[in-house]
């Protein structure tokens, strides 16, 4: 996996304990959004552009933004997305892992056989604009409390090989 470029370092920090990139969290002041419900890309999402994401990775990011409610972890069934994308589940899983590593998508707890994911509220938001700051700040507070932080599982391919 390629290293996170310097421009992405504001979005994700490296946690040596888990060996993963965790999203940076900070409480943010409310921005005066126009009223109404919408799906929006924020200006900070532009930092994703030079990262060279593939078409599948963009598809996945946009699909999550279109379908998932902001501020909520929702279950992602990789086989279902792979069927929609006419792609292999392994490729979808790899794309999702990359999005998690660069901080574009946040990984939650396991639910059944699948994990829950959420689009980073700093990059994209879906829902009424007036709720954006509440959603983002609630997420920031939840991550700041270590007991509620859900670290991604660190099982790697090399460990599996050793076993």
């Amino acid at each position: 996996m390629s290293a996170v470029p310097a421009r992405m370092q504001g979005l994700a920090i490296f946690d040596p304990g888990s060996g993963e990139y965790a999203p940076v969290v900070e409480i943010r002041r409310r921005y005066a959004y126009p009223s109404g419900s919408y799906r929006t890309f924020s200006d900070e999402a532009e930092q994703l552009l030079p990262y060279g994401l593939s078409g599948l990775e963009w598809n996945l990011f946009v699909r999550l933004l279109m379908t998932h409610s902001s501020g909520k972890f929702e279950k992602v069934v990789i086989s279902e997305i792979a069927a929609k994308e006419h792609s292999d589940p392994a490729n979808v899983s790899r794309a999702l892992t990359l999005l998690v590593q660069i901080g574009a998508v946040i990984k939650g707890e396991k639910e059944g056989r699948s994990y829950c994911y959420m689009v980073n509220p700093l990059l994209g938001f879906r829902g009424p604009g007036v709720l954006h700051h509440e959603v983002y700040n609630a997420h920031a507070r939840a991550l700041a409390d270590p007991e509620t932080v859900t670290r991604p599982r660190t099982a790697t391919r090399s460990k599996r090989k050793e076993a």
Binding site: E26, I27, R28, R29, R30, Y31, Y33, P34, G36, Y38, R39, T40, F41, S42, D43, E44, A45, E46, L49, P50, G52, L53, S54, G55, E57, W58, N59, V62, R63, L65, M66, L122, F125, G129, H132, H133, Y136
Partner: protein, 143 residues
Amino acid sequence: MSVTAWESTLPALPRPAFEMHDRFEEVIELGLSGADYAILFHLAARMQTGNRVAINQRAIAAAIRVSPETVRRSLSVLRATRLLLSPDEGLSVINPVYLVHNIAERSQLVKAFGNIDVVRGVRAARRTRPMPRRGHLALVSSR
């Protein structure tokens, strides 16, 4: 310190760059490449009133770190899929059915430009290196 004063010390949430309509799911089905998406979102973030955007191919290439050739081909894909509407004169327009600068303007813009659906585009062929003229080397070797 009052709550307002404390809040004023916090960083503000990012501003919305552009807004998507539910119909953007049709764009996902087009199978755009990573460069196509990056250029689309780069242009969408720079939309002005009326979804108008100026296209500077060199600036786009530098901003998203791709070659000018990739930018040229991706722009042709975006035009072929009708996501980018380029009139003969003036600034290009991003299809307001899918992406809008301001959601309040959407219905007005769709009425002005028409309800233009996206279509699957064909990617322009890569430029090939010019081949040597046939017979040139044969001419040399015959001496």
